[in-house]
């Protein structure tokens, strides 16, 4: 076991050294020979955390392999930030253990800090420093020079804003700057807490584009917290759904959506005002109907057989349709079916 650990550690050292030298070719073979035996870069073991009146995290376990992008998806107040701040070393767990690169925070702060990149939920940088100066300041903490600052400015596409004061940046540009700072040291672990909350859809997509590029080009592992299901779907290989301090489901997007028996939804609105929820009980699949709004949802598995069945049922009961829509289930549907609430509530 010990030998095994040393191996995978050596692989990292080698890989990163080469990357700094810009000599990525010879390292490729090495990576291939070791990827079969990867150790997790982040391990969270039965972690608990309470504040005065809230039990924020209740026994969470997770582990993340190199190069994997993980989403912690959940509504506000689910405990995502507390969990991620414990991984970031900002808060200490009451119980349980957290290992980054196989090491505990205590006593290894310097080394871990060198290898992680963080974007906190809301950091406001110095208003009267420019984008370039802010990056240069943070680069000095990692012993990095100006060429890395230029690389980052290109990556986050803020070339035109290099000399602009931080106070004059838009919300999206600020978020990209925060991301740029997190990426300065080519971190092995990237921890992003709600990186796109409060941004408009365009600005959000710009942040996603940077992260997708990062995924293609580097071996960085990422943990991202979000309450936007699209963000988790777009960026992450593995999604952990959190609610009230517990993991309630986890898996790849496919696993999560096909996990339930009924993984497609038909949403309909009726013209007929006399229909009641009881009317749909005899159907072969689950239907939720709200007689106040006239809206209903049918949870089905096979569109080809079950959709005609539903339509003929409507005809039989003399119900007139106003609107009908068929779609694949989303993470929000899954969350709703598990908790009765929506993700963005």
């Amino acid at each position: 076991m010990i030998e095994h650990f040393n191996y995978s550690y050596a692989y990292y050292e080698y890989y990163y050294t080469n990357k700094y030298l810009g000599n990525g070719v010879s390292s490729q073979t090495l990576i291939r020979s070791f990827t079969m035996e990867q150790n997790p870069v982040v391990e969270v073991k039965n972690v608990h955390k309470s504040f005065k009146s809230v039990h924020a995290v209740k026994g969470v376990n997770l582990s993340i392999l190199p190069g994997h992008f993980i989403a912690l998806l959940g509504p506000n107040g689910a405990g995502k930030t507390t969990l991620v701040e414990m991984i970031e070393g900002i808060q200490k767990p009451d119980r349980g253990e957290i290992l980054l690169l196989g090491k505990k925070w205590s006593g290894n702060e310097e080394e871990i800090h060198r290898n992680i990149g963080i974007s906190l939920q809301e950091t406001r940088f110095v208003d009267k420093l420019t984008v370039g100066e802010t990056l240069k300041l943070f680069a000095s903490f990692y012993r990095l020079n100006n060429s890395r600052v230029t690389e980052i400015i290109e990556l986050i596409e803020l070339e035109e804003k290099r000399k602009a004061y931080v106070q004059n940046l838009s919300g999206g540009q600020r978020q990209r700057l925060a991301l740029g700072i997190a990426l300065l040291n080519k971190p092995r672990i990237l921890l992003l807490d709600e990186p796109t909350t409060g941004l408009d859809p365009n600005a959000r997509r710009e942040v996603w584009a940077i992260l997708k590029k990062l995924k293609e080009e580097s071996k960085t592992s990422m943990i991202l917290t979000t309450h936007y299901m699209e963000e988790a779907e777009q960026l992450c290989d593995y999604i952990i759904i959190i609610d009230k301090g517990r993991i309630i489901r986890e898996g790849t997007l496919d696993q999560l959506l096909n996990h339930e028996i009924n993984h497609k939804t038909i949403e309909f609105t009726l013209e007929t005002t006399t229909a009641t929820a009881e009317l749909f009980i005899p159907c072969n699949f689950e239907i939720k109907y709200d007689d106040l709004s006239g809206k209903g949802s049918a949870y089905i598995n096979n569109m080809e057989t079950e959709l005609p069945e539903l339509l003929s049922y409507f005809r039989k009961k003399d119900l007139t349709l106003k609107n009908l829509e068929c779609r694949k289930n989303t993470l929000d549907d899954l969350f709703t079916s598990l908790t009765g609430r929506h993700l963005n509530e």
Binding site: E122, F125, K128, L137, Y142
Partner: protein, 378 residues
């Protein structure tokens, strides 16, 4: 300290310096405001302007005695220059006591009712009330008010002895106008000391608390940044800015009021640095926990306000009761102000300021260490 750490410290210092100088208010409040204050106070207290005092005359004639030719009205018409006011009912007299050495004193005596006179006394627009009883002039004033006492002495001398008090030609009055004895000589060292305290306390405490509330502090310590570099950079910039502010204030006072440093310049620099160290330590201590600027505000005021009031910045603390003076003298601001003053105007050197130097530095080190121990980075 290796070269890498030096580079990090340099970048932190540079960033903090830019942050400060790019704030336009810094130039005004740090540099122009103290200069304006020294100019205003210096002129107000240095120039020998005429002293003008309002005296209320309450006549008791209307109470039936009908003594129109009383001692008071005789004295008033003998020394005073009568003006009939616009209203016409009440007479106004002007008594001038000219004096080249001390400046002229002008008394404006106005007839009014007792109630009006009392209101004037309470408001401070009248500092002495004169009435007459059995042919004697009575003076009513607050015995705790030295200015009223002086008015009484001058007027009673004039009325009783029939001659001007404080003769112009008195050879026993020798006004001191040499450097070091004027009010401005007292004021400038005080303003420099106050500038050090205010800039350091507000600059460093606010800087830290603001960065903490913006969550910038926790972002910065989530890197391999050395925490001590962050604080040292901040203190360095603050001392540098204070140095510029103090030098400009001194140069201005030297140019306008001909202020001189009579003692050792290296000793001035030493006490300046010790003062900065003391206040920087206190500033870090009080900003070590809170993330709320409102709380920071209160904490800074708790420290700054008593010293502003007691440390003899604008007026000597020797007017406070004897029993509290030893405590006042142990306050950091008093030590800095007295230290700079003794070098500026008494010609002191290192030997005379060695105790405050050691005490101030120790205060700084103790508070800095304690502050760092309980410092909340997250």
């Amino acid at each position: 300290m290796n070269r890498f750490s030096q580079y990090q410290l340099f970048q932190l210092t540079l960033a903090y310096f830019k942050e400060i100088v790019r704030e336009p208010g810094v130039l005004f409040w740090g540099i122009i405001f103290p200069i304006l204050m020294s100019l205003g106070l210096g002129i107000a207290f240095t120039k020998k302007a005429d002293t003008e005092r309002n005296i209320a005359v309450v006549s008791v004639q209307d109470e039936g005695t009908a003594e129109t030719n009383s001692g008071l009205s005789r004295a008033l018409s003998r020394f005073g220059e009568k003006n009939i006011s616009d209203e016409g009912d009440f007479a106004e007299y002007k008594i001038s006591i000219p004096n080249e050495k001390l400046g002229n004193t002008i008394f404006l005596l106005q007839e009014m009712t007792w109630d009006e006179a009392m209101t004037g006394l309470k408001r401070g627009s009248v500092n002495l009330i004169i009435t007459e009883q059995d042919h004697h002039i009575l003076y009513h004033f607050d015995p705790a008010n030295p200015d009223a006492q002086l008015s009484y002495l001058k007027l009673s001398y004039l009325f009783d002895k029939d001659t001007l008090p404080l003769s112009n030609t008195s050879e026993y009055i020798a006004p001191l106008e040499v450097q070091g004895t004027r009010y401005i000589d007292f004021l400038i060292p005080g303003l420099i000391a106050m500038g050090i305290m205010m800039s350091t306390m507000w600059g460093i405490s606010y800087g830290i608390i603001e960065k903490r509330s913006k969550k910038l502090l926790r972002r910065m310590v989530a890197t391999p940044m050395k925490k001590s570099n962050f604080l040292i950079g901040m203190i360095t910039v603050r001392i540098g800015m204070n140095f510029i502010e103090s030098v400009l204030l001194f140069l201005f006072a030297w140019w306008v009021f001909d202020i001189q440093i009579q003692g050792s310049i290296p000793a001035v620099i030493a006490i300046f640095i010790a003062g900065n160290v003391a206040f920087a330590g206190i500033a870090i201590f009080i900003s070590s926990r809170t993330a709320k600027t409102e709380i920071g505000n209160g904490l800074i005021n708790v420290v700054v306000f008593p010293m502003m009031l007691l440390s003899g910045i604008f007026f000597s603390y020797h007017n406070f009761p004897e029993s509290v003076i030893p405590y006042i003298q142990k306050m950091p601001l008093t030590m800095v102000a007295d230290g700079i003053r003794s070098i500026f105007i008494e010609g002191a050197g290192f030997a005379q300021v060695s105790v405050p130097l050691i005490v101030l530095t120790s205060i700084g080190v103790v508070f800095f260490t304690a502050g760092l121990k309980m410092f909340k980075w997250y």
